[in-house]
């Protein structure tokens, strides 16, 4: 087929940030998948609660301390997370390195406290359906904590190699920060569900 050139794109940039980047949209799509998953498990929780005569079934209410501690740490981590994302946008390589190290620490700490959350549920996954669903909720969110922590650690390591100082990596840092926000935000309804609904 004959062609007629009607536009010249030689001046376009060769990398885009945020909504001009396909990775950003891909991350968003995966967040939609996972948010649907979280919403479903919460729906299952409410469904089983609705069927049960008493809730929690044959178990004391979960202890508040470890879960609340995780919530506070996650909320606090949102601040350096936001700053890291901003530094990435400004392409401030030195600060990005600091931010990634900080976020590696702030990803590890809630995971360590999370280890104390499971016993604090005061029920086992195989005790009854209540135990199964709270373990599923907490387990699912923990899987997200671990995934994003591994992603953060790899990116942080990358920042201290020759390949770190590249605008593409800064885009990755931003997408990683967005995903961390997602992990923090989705925790809030799960926290409310696990710890506060039994207290209503």
């Amino acid at each position: 087929m004959k062609t007629r050139v009607v536009a010249d794109f030689s001046g376009l940039p060769i990398h885009g940030f945020r909504s001009a980047s396909v990775t950003w949209w891909g991350t968003l799509a995966f967040m939609l998948i996972e948010a649907t998953g979280f919403a479903l498990v919460i729906a299952v929780y409410l469904y089983l609660m609705n069927l049960a005569a008493i809730w929690p079934i044959d178990a004391p209410k979960p202890n508040l301390l470890p879960g609340t501690l995780v919530t506070v740490i996650l909320l606090v981590s949102a601040i350096p997370n936001y700053l890291t994302s901003r530094w990435a946008e400004r392409e401030d390589f030195r600060r990005i390195r600091i931010g990634m190290v900080l976020m590696s620490v702030l990803g590890t700490v809630p995971l360590a406290v999370r280890a104390f959350e499971f016993p604090a549920l005061n029920v086992n996954w195989d005790s009854n359906a209540y135990g199964s669903v709270v373990w599923a909720l907490l387990g699912l969110h923990t899987a997200h904590l671990i995934t994003d922590l591994v992603d953060t650690l790899v990116l942080a390591a990358l920042m201290f190699t020759r390949k770190g100082d590249n605008v593409r990596r800064f885009g990755d840092v931003q997408d990683n920060a967005m995903y961390w926000n997602f992990v923090v935000v989705t925790w809030l309804p799960i926290y409310g569900c696990i710890y506060w609904i039994p207290r209503l």
């Binding site: 794109f9 885009g16 396909v22 939609l32 005790s127 359906a129 209540y130 593409r168």
Partner: protein
């Protein structure tokens, strides 16, 4: 071939040199490495389509075995246990290994071409998706060969599939096969969403997107919203069976109906995941063969979106006999019937297009006409079973079997076969035979109706589905024999189709760029398309670019030839934003799929497989994402 010099722009090269430079940059290596590392959407989609059709043939053989068993009363062709495995395998295979993957694969092949880009978004994820799909299919079929295939029906209701009744690993294999196919489907959905939203040719604003592309976009969103339900369902089933959770155990506060809710919250949208791409194919074929744009473009797009939203409000109509509250039943009856509205809008728009056009009755259009007839019948019985009293009467009978084969084969397989005839020249560079095509259409159309229409009557006469035999004094004998004989006609039609397809890849007439004189961008490049799809990125200013300016394609220049480059554009207006890089071949998706497969299959047997299996998965993913020193990594 020589290396392409850094930062060589397309505008600096004469057409033959440009083609050579792009071919070098976008080349898929030959040999085993190329097979395992390929990321070209066309290569992956071809594999996907061929594999899915192989599963169709296998599923067809299972159907024939069932018809052989049911042809007469008290037959002893299959044992009851084998029969249970076979009907479970047939449904599972057709839904999860044929219908959904083949529709997505058509999207993987066509969407990037139709929106005028050079590869799908996340091509490595695409490669990963295929390997995972293949592993899931292999898991199911190897289990079948070993006589340990699932035997609990394609929707695996608890408690039958639970720890108490479903001994052995059969139900686990079903559940984990689901996980494989859902990971594969979700990956493709993400790729298609991002490709459609961000990689459209400059100027292809939302109101200029071809209807097939719209249908794939809407389908992908349905996949994204529906599939997490089945992933959670199958995972919790495995947990109940493996580590003693009680999600579905009423004795410990669980609930068996919870399974049905979770399954059908996915399972009903699943029907539209299969049907909506078919609708898109119908629009594409009708447009080309009626020789005019589809009537009511906006209404068609709205109908697609309306169907996708309503799809999530219907699932309970699969559960009308479970004793749900009256109000719930009324709501879901109303919502089930209301889906006939967008379906009707589409049917009337197609009819109007044909009415106003100058239809050319080639094989693809024949399949589409066959689709309209069959789908309308299936839709009508759908409205019938949406009514609770009627459904209570025919639930779990052959009436339902007839209904869903009418909507699935009539509604999706007919358009798909039409679509294969239509796009075969683009994919292979050769035409399929018109004579054999017409022959296969009539055999399939007549054979299908003779096979499945009597099942309505069998169902009304009370014949339950999923029985391995029946007694001679039941009034079902003659019709069952008739159905079994008719199924041979249907099979003959499929055989002709397969023979035609295989034969045509070798000896078919060579196809030109645009053998049907179609209006959309996939026909603006060679048949089959080169690895880079388009030597220059098309620029679009209408809904039917190849009809608006016949023989001349408007394009843009200024892209690099030494780097896999494509255009990222804005979501609504498709204004060009970036000359973005597209990843090169990589072996890592293959290794990631191998590691994921080991982890998932291991976790049928021990929960620790998840812990230890995630380590190689993580290593493979890090290898995948670790930047390589290629021009694509430049910024």
């Amino acid at each position: 071939m020589s290396e392409v010099k850094p930062d060589t722009r397309d505008s600096e090269l004469a057409p033959p040199a440009l083609a050579a430079a792009l071919a070098e940059t976008w080349r898929t290596p030959v040999g085993l490495w190329g097979v395992l590392a390929a990321v070209d959407h066309k290569i992956i989609a071809r594999r996907y389509i061929v594999t899915a059709f192989a599963f169709l043939a296998l599923g067809g053989v299972l159907a024939l075995l069932m018809r052989l068993q049911l042809a007469q009363p008290e037959a002893r062709v299959l044992s009851p246990d084998r029969y249970n495995q076979i009907f479970t395998m047939h449904g599972t295979n057709m839904m999860f290994l044929f219908a959904v993957p083949v529709m997505e694969a058509m999207g993987v092949y066509l969407v990037p071409l139709m929106v005028g880009t050079r590869n799908i978004a996340f091509p490595r994820l695409n490669a990963f998706s295929y390997w995972i799909f293949l592993a899931g299919g292999a898991l199911l079929w190897i289990a079948f060969v070993l006589d340990m295939a699932p035997d609990v029906g394609w929707f695996a209701y608890v408690p039958l599939s639970g720890p108490q009744y479903g001994a052995g690993k059969r139900a686990d294999i079903w559940a984990q096969m689901i996980t494989f196919t859902e990971i594969a489907a979700l990956a493709v959905a993400v790729e298609i969403v991002v490709t459609v939203l961000k990689q459209r040719a400059p100027g292809m604003s939302l109101d200029r997107i071809p209807l097939f592309v719209w249908s794939m976009l809407v389908t992908s969103f349905v996949v994204i919203m529906a599939m997490p339900a089945i992933v959670f369902a199958s995972t919790s089933l495995i947990l109940d069976r493996l580590v003693g959770t009680h999600f579905f155990n009423p004795a410990e506060g669980g609930d068996v109906l919870l399974w049905q809710h979770l399954f059908w919250f996915f399972g009903h949208p699943e029907v539209y995941i299969i049907f909506l791409p078919a609708v898109g194919m119908v629009s594409a074929i009708i447009e080309t063969f009626a020789r005019r744009p589809v009537f009511g473009y906006l209404a068609m797009v709205m109908a697609l979106i309306a169907t996708s939203i309503l799809a999530f409000g219907l699932w309970v109509h699969h559960m009308f006999v479970t004793g749900l509250p009256r109000l719930g039943q009324s709501f879901f009856t109303a919502s089930s019937m209301s889906i006939a509205i967008p379906a009707g809008v589409q049917v009337f728009c197609w009819l109007a297009t044909l009415w106003d056009g100058a239809p050319v009755f080639r094989t693809p259009l024949l399949f589409v006409i066959g689709f309209i007839v069959t789908f309308v019948i299936g839709g009508l019985t759908g409205v019938m079973v949406a009514s609770v009293p009627f459904d209570t009467q025919v639930h779990d009978t052959y009436f339902v079997v007839a209904h869903f084969h009418y909507v699935l084969i009539g509604g999706a397989v007919f358009p798909l076969l039409g679509g294969i005839y239509y796009w075969f020249p683009k994919i292979t560079g050769r035409m399929m035979s018109e004579t054999l095509g017409k022959c296969s259409f009539w055999l399939i159309f007549v054979g299908f109706n003779l096979t499945f229409f009597p099942m309505h009557i069998l169902g009304l006469a009370g014949m339950p589905r999923r029985i391995y035999t029946y007694q001679p004094d039941m009034p079902w004998y003659g019709l069952n024999m008739f159905v079994s004989i008719s199924s041979l006609v249907l099979v003959a039609g499929f055989l002709v189709f397969f023979i035609d397809a295989i034969r045509s890849t070798r000896v078919g007439v060579s196809a030109a760029e645009n053998p049907w004189d179609a209006p959309t961008l996939e026909w603006a490049t060679a048949s089959p398309p080169p690895s880079y799809n388009f030597a220059e990125i098309p620029v679009v200013n209408g809904l039917s670019p190849l009809w608006d300016q016949p023989g001349c394609l408007m394009v843009a220049s200024g892209l690099r030839t030494d780097r896999r480059e494509l255009i990222v554009s804005t979501v609504a207006a498709a204004k060009p934003q970036v000359r973005e890089a597209s990843p090169r071949d990589s072996i890592w998706p293959f290794w990631a799929a191998v590691a994921t497969t080991v982890m998932l299959i291991g976790s049928i047997f021990t929960p620790w497989a998840v812990v230890w299996g995630s380590v190689p998965v993580a290593i493979a993913l890090i290898g995948w994402f670790w930047p390589k020193a290629t021009p694509e990594d430049e910024s």
